[in-house]
């Protein structure tokens, strides 16, 4: 295994549930798309130029942000998948055959994708809802990088990108939300429709085309041109607050109604029973049950339990029990049946270890 193997044994240090909104917001992300002036976009770059691009951006990144270069095109499939599971790279970059890379900041909250559909995708992550702070940090990093790298920019169309949907600011501000109560009460569709009308995009946890498994949703701006960066961030922030409020109300209304409360409590306790007893757990089953444990912890449903799990344990299981993470930490776990068994063992062990500490 290469230099990223160590990532398989620890969740990102910046992760920190439940945050200030009762676990509804998992994380925020700011992404800026940039291209070098005078260069073809990655899709049209000859192989030698693509290699030079990775080296050139990595050299500038080394001066702007302490970290290391991961040559994604040289990784094993499972290692690429590990980077996708941590949301450090997109599925497109993970699947790329041309020279491409990831500049991973030492803080693990800065991740520069090099040679995806644009030359650079500058990303910053943080726990909870903190788009404004992340934008300020991302712009500061962009300014540092621009000292070495001249960006393709047009007075009318702004930062020029390979796809017209990213033109202008090149900014995508996204928030990862956990909305199980809205899904359970059937109000989610109306909420998602309202977001669409505000020109916001709603996607699953792994971006475009991914399923909203466990009711985790990424909400982000669709438009990047015609509004400045602060305006875009303010509109996503405001929309996220409204959705958080809707989820809070849906959770309260479930608790206030006997039949719905029974249903909610049953889901939480079943999740607890399965996760502390199962001997085989698929990735999908774990994500679904873990989602209800988060709700149970946030709403105090698990309070009658003498030994409650901690939020940090739920984060740890959520990240480290993903397939490629398991394989990185346990190289022998190459087939899915083995991983399902290992996933059940680790989940049970970590949840009951919490019980021992309480």
């Amino acid at each position: 295994m290469s230099d990223i193997a160590g990532l398989g044994s620890t969740p990102a240090p910046w992760l920190g549930s439940p945050g200030e909104h009762g676990g509804v917001v998992l994380s925020s992300r700011i992404r800026l798309a940039r291209n070098l002036e005078g260069w073809h976009f990655p899709r049209k770059l000859p192989p030698a130029r693509a290699r030079t691009l990775v080296e050139k951006v990595a050299e500038a990144a080394a001066r702007a942000c302490p970290g290391r270069l991961v040559r994604v095109d040289r990784l094993e499939t499972s290692e690429r998948q590990l980077l996708v599971e941590r949301q450090l790279v997109s599925r497109e970059l993970a699947a790329a055959k041309r020279a491409c890379g990831l500049w991973l900041g030492d803080d693990q909250r800065t991740a520069l994708m090099i040679g995806e559909e644009d030359h650079l995708r500058l990303q910053l992550f943080g726990p909870g809802l903190q788009l404004e702070k992340l934008l300020a940090d991302a712009v500061a990093l962009d300014v540092r990088l621009a000292r070495d790298l001249g960006w393709a920019f047009d007075d009318r169309l702004g930062y020029l990108t390979a796809c017209h949907s990213n033109l202008g600011t090149g900014l995508r501000a996204s928030v990862m939300l956990h909305l199980p109560a809205l899904a359970e009460t059937g109000e989610l569709k109306a909420v998602l429709r309202a977001l669409e009308k505000l020109h916001l995009a709603v996607r699953g946890r792994f971006g475009e085309g991914s399923e909203p498994q466990g009711h985790y949703y990424q909400v982000s701006n669709r438009r990047t041109l015609g509004q400045d960066e602060a305006g875009i961030v303010a509109s996503v922030h405001a929309a996220a607050l409204r959705v958080i409020e809707a989820e809070r109300i849906a959770r309260e209304s479930m608790l206030a109604n006997d039949a719905q409360r029974n249903r909610l409590e049953d889901k939480v306790w079943r999740a607890w029973a399965v996760l502390t007893s199962a001997r085989v757990l698929s990735s999908e089953e774990l994500v679904d049950h873990l989602a209800w444990l988060r709700v149970g912890l946030a709403l105090g449903v698990l309070n009658t339990l003498s030994h409650r799990p901690t939020w940090a344990t739920l984060d740890r299981i959520f990240v480290l029990c993903q397939p490629a993470h398991l394989q990185a930490a346990h190289p022998a776990a190459t087939d899915s049946a083995w991983r399902d068994r290992l996933r059940a063992d680790l989940t049970r062990t970590w949840l009951t270890a919490d019980a021992g500490r309480n």
């Binding site: 993970a94 009318r156 017209h164 498994q213 400045d228």
Partner: protein, 166 residues
Amino acid sequence: MATTCQRCGTRPATIHVTEVALQGGHAEAHLCNACCQEAGWTPLVPPPPVAELVASPADGEATTPDESADEPSCPNCGLQFSEYQQVNLFGCAHDYTRFAESADELIRRWHGALQHTGRRPGEDAPDAGEARRAELHTELAAAVSGERYEDAARLRDQLRQLDGGT
């Protein structure tokens, strides 16, 4: 069975898209042609008839179809606009000038604008707090005029927090 477009909710869905995720699972979308284009999805070109396959040039030979030989291309990267419509990716920054008319139409449809108003290279960070403040003031005015006093109080608290937490 005929379904309605899940985006506009009015026109019949004529395009059915299934995306398969790398880590398993899939997502489905049922869209009408107009919404499909607006969402930036490009329908897959149906496979060519067998006769055309037989007549196709072998790998490595020039594959530009006859009808596109006359289609203008970018002198810098060689991209033809029909290629962009297939993959939604331009080849270089010049393409926005070379295909300005078609590109502007796409840009206007997607963004509802044709003029960048954000940062320029080298400029410092924008004041996101200021934009948020303006948005909160608008929401506060709407809450007061709608007599939603609980919302108004919450918004006022948020404004105070932005102004220094007093």
